[in-house]
């Protein structure tokens, strides 16, 4: 088996699994006042401190959520509501058009139901938002901008955004900027404290932690209107009893993601370069998606377009040989749609149907790349025969 879909989810780190299972037998609601509650709270707060350190943030800036999707929704909707409440003129939402659906659909929903005017920022051919583009958009009327949201790195084509420069522009106008850093954490330096961001999303299972846990890093001056109302456990912006084992495990994975980031970028990046070279050798007309310069893309991401192929066909053929990857695009009713990321960066729609995303991770090996190198040529040939239906 060659698992090349780490961007979907990556195997849990043994240390994270150990931390999780160690907590499963222990009782305690972190909000309770008695000894069991205090024990649980201590575990949670130590985890929060660990995560804060891994992300160069203050512990109070770590708002634990059920995952990346919830954190994105809290940031986008919550900041929109709170900013609009403070000044009804602020109804403009600026978003990159290549966002993950957790952001894109939340933004779209604000436009449909909450009176937001959604403006998609222009991107270059690699899907990158340039600071000048953000400046131009805000400067048109700085007073009516509720928030801006630009992902740290793209989940499909791996393009890294100039987050700090974007945050500088936003700060000039006092506009809060949110970044979805779900894919970036563990692969590029994700330094919340120095980033100038108002809010940033991270997720547990993308870094070798458990599913169902994530966090919104949230500057202390921001109080987004909650999406989930209830006990107010997390800074009164997020309610719900904390999943202590998941939080503890997430923290271990977060610490390791930060500690091993340089190793990851070097070693996994080199393996990724080999993968790209191997695919190009086997399929000379394959087109690399995203930024071709290694510094401009996530070290674990390789994204290809195979002209004349249906991505679904390639997926089926590779899956049958034990090679697991993704077309990289979202599904609607299980039917693969051409990726919005590719369409928005000007890719021909037919070409956009023939994509595969290979994403590596901490368990990737040379053998995985070799298996793909062997299989990809014949698979592309066969998929081409099947054509575009």
């Amino acid at each position: 088996m060659a698992y090349l879909d780490h961007a979907a989810t990556t195997p849990m780190l043994p240390e994270a699994a150990e931390a999780l299972t160690a907590q499963l037998g222990i009782t305690g609601n972190a909000s309770s006042l008695h000894a069991a509650g205090r024990r649980a709270r201590r575990t949670v707060e130590e985890a929060r401190e660990t995560l804060a350190e891994a992300l160069a943030a203050r512990p109070s800036e770590v708002v634990l959520t059920s995952g990346g999707t919830e954190a994105d929704n809290l940031a986008v909707k919550g900041l929109y509501w709170s900013r609009r409440d403070a000044d009804p003129a602020r109804t403009r939402v600026l978003a990159s058009p290549v966002e993950h659906h957790a952001v894109l659909d939340a933004v779209h929903w604000l436009g449909e139901h909450e009176g937001a005017t959604v403006e998609y920022l222009p991107v270059d051919a690699h899907g990158r938002v340039h600071p000048e583009a953000l400046r131009e958009a805000i400067a048109r009327n700085p007073d009516d901008v509720a928030l801006a949201t630009v992902m740290w790195a793209n989940n499909e084509i791996g393009t890294i955004m100039p987050v700090r420069e974007l945050a500088d522009v936003a700060a000039e106008f006092d506009v809060p900027l949110h970044a979805d850093a779900v894919q970036a954490f563990g692969q590029v330096p994700v330094d919340f404290g120095a980033s100038g961001l108002a809010a940033m999303t991270v997720s547990g299972h993308k870094i070798g932690g458990p599913y169902g846990i994530g966090a919104l890093l949230l500057g202390r001056e921001y109080s987004p209107v909650p999406v989930l109302h209830g006990g107010g456990q997390e800074r009164h912006v997020r309610s719900g009893t904390l999943d202590v084992p998941a939080v503890a495990s997430f923290a271990v994975a977060g610490r390791l993601a930060a500690e091993q980031r340089e190793w990851f970028a070097r070693e996994i990046g080199a393996l990724r370069d080999e993968l790209i070279a191997a695919v190009r050798t086997a399929v000379p007309d394959a087109i690399l998606g995203g930024d071709p310069s290694p510094g401009g893309r996530l070290p674990a991401n390789a994204h290809f377009m195979f002209p004349g192929c249906e991505g679904d066909s390639l997926l089926l053929l590779l899956d049958a040989q034990g090679i697991e990857c993704s077309t990289g695009s979202a599904c609607t009713a299980g039917v693969a749609q051409p990726s919005h990321v590719l369409l928005t960066t000007g890719t021909d729609p037919d070409l956009a149907r023939g994509t595969l995303r290979f994403s590596l991770g901490h368990t990737s090996t040379e053998a995985d790349v070799e298996a793909l190198a062997k299989a990809i040529g014949p698979a592309v040939e066969r998929a081409r025969n099947a054509g575009l239906s």
Binding site: D312, L316, L317, A333, G334, V335, A386, G387
Partner: protein, 378 residues
């Protein structure tokens, strides 16, 4: 097990899984027989509904999930393939155009011909599969000379060879129907699904037309073709009522005519003819429905086309009975005469010819000859 699933060499099989119990059991049987099976659900609607309304349909997201769940239990890979555009062009638009022309199409048959055993099969073959497997009740028999024959299912009550009659030998060579030799009740198929741990065991049967979710064919056609009021006349041409669109009728139809004045003899009246040109529907007594002969176009043969006149049994509609005919291919048109008059023959429906249980071929009914008047209509 059918012949195809008995072969020792395991085949790479693509199982079309609608989300219903039959196709799930078919896929499970193919896998159990040792084949390398991959499940695929065809997304046939561009805007699928999230949930079934009642028991109908095979085009909802829920059906797709049911199919995926079944594939997971069987332990086979599962994909959803988007054939909505092909389905719209080849099945839905054909369905509308046929009704508009006063004929009565069979969309299931068209889907088998153009989608399941054409678009889907072609793609499957190109991707290296050997066969497409469905939950149809019919049998493929391999002769000693290497040719394949399509036969009625062992259980005549369940037989679906009629809607597969359009398949040619090349299509049959890559078709697998694991339910075809099952002599069993639906309850037993459900019991088998239950035994195999398939949750679709209790799912209600789908019926009617999958792309008309509410079952209201008239309403669907009215939305597509608009209302067009016209006259209902009797055989003498006397107006006896009005209708809201001639396309909404089928030859032999008795219900829903809403004729105010009863027939002189007080007997029920039936649709005898639909004329889209002057938007007129002709009604008359049951005896006038008797047809003694017909012509049919676009013949397709399972094997070589027969030469000269031959005697066959014929089936004229899904779930219809058998009738004795003599048929001959004349200049590409099938000319058929009935041993005894038959009723309710609707242009647009298929005539499928059988030799015993073997499907010989099929064609689309174009014109009929009335037994009583000997006037050609259609």
């Amino acid at each position: 097990m059918t012949e195809t699933s008995q072969r020792s060499r395991p085949l790479r099989v693509l199982a079309a899984m609608s989300g219903g119990v039959d196709s799930a059991v078919a896929a499970a049987r193919a896998a159990e027989a040792g084949h390398d099976v991959t499940g695929v659900h065809l997304a046939l609607s561009a805007n699928p509904q999230s949930f079934r309304t009642g028991a109908r349909g095979c085009c909802t997201i829920e059906d797709s999930r049911d199919a995926r769940r079944a594939a997971d239990v069987i332990g086979i890979p599962f994909y959803v393939w988007d054939l909505a555009e092909r389905f719209r062009e080849d099945v839905v638009e054909d369905f509308v155009a046929e009704y508009e022309a006063g004929r009565t199409p069979n969309p299931c048959l068209r889907c088998n011909e153009k989608i399941k055993f054409a678009a889907l099969l072609d793609k499957a073959l190109a991707l290296g599969f050997d066969a497409v497997c469905t939950g149809h009740y019919a049998q493929v028999i391999l002769r000693e000379d290497g040719t394949r024959e399509l036969h009625r299912a062992s259980d005549m009550a369940k037989d679906q060879s009629y809607v597969l009659g359009v398949l040619d030998e090349k299509q049959l060579a890559h078709a697998m129907f694991p339910l075809g030799d099952t002599v069993t009740t639906k309850e037993e198929i459900r019991a088998e699904a239950e035994r195999r741990g398939l949750a679709v065991a209790k799912k209600p049967d789908s019926h009617d037309i999958c792309f008309i979710a509410d079952g209201d064919t008239q309403g669907f056609l009215a939305r597509r073709l608009g209302r067009a009021e016209g006259d209902i006349v009797d055989e003498s041409g006397t107006k006896v009522g009005t209708h809201e669109g001639a396309y909404g009728f089928t030859i032999g139809q008795r219900k829903g005519l809403r004729i105010g004045t009863p027939a002189p003899d007080g007997k029920p009246r039936y649709v005898l003819d639909i004329s889209p040109v002057d938007n007129t529907v002709t009604v008359g007594p049951a005896a006038s429905l008797d047809v003694s002969a017909l012509t049919a176009i676009k013949p397709r043969w399972c094997g070589t086309a027969p030469s000269g006149p031959g005697t066959y049994t014929a089936q004229l509609r899904a779930h219809g009975g058998e009738t004795e005919v003599t048929a001959e291919l004349v200049d590409g048109t099938l000319e058929v005469s009935f041993a005894a008059p038959v009723r309710g023959v609707a242009p647009g429906q298929a005539i499928v010819l059988y030799d015993g249980t073997r499907v010989v071929g099929s064609a689309t009914i174009a014109t009929t000859v009335r037994a009583t008047t000997d006037v050609k209509v259609g």
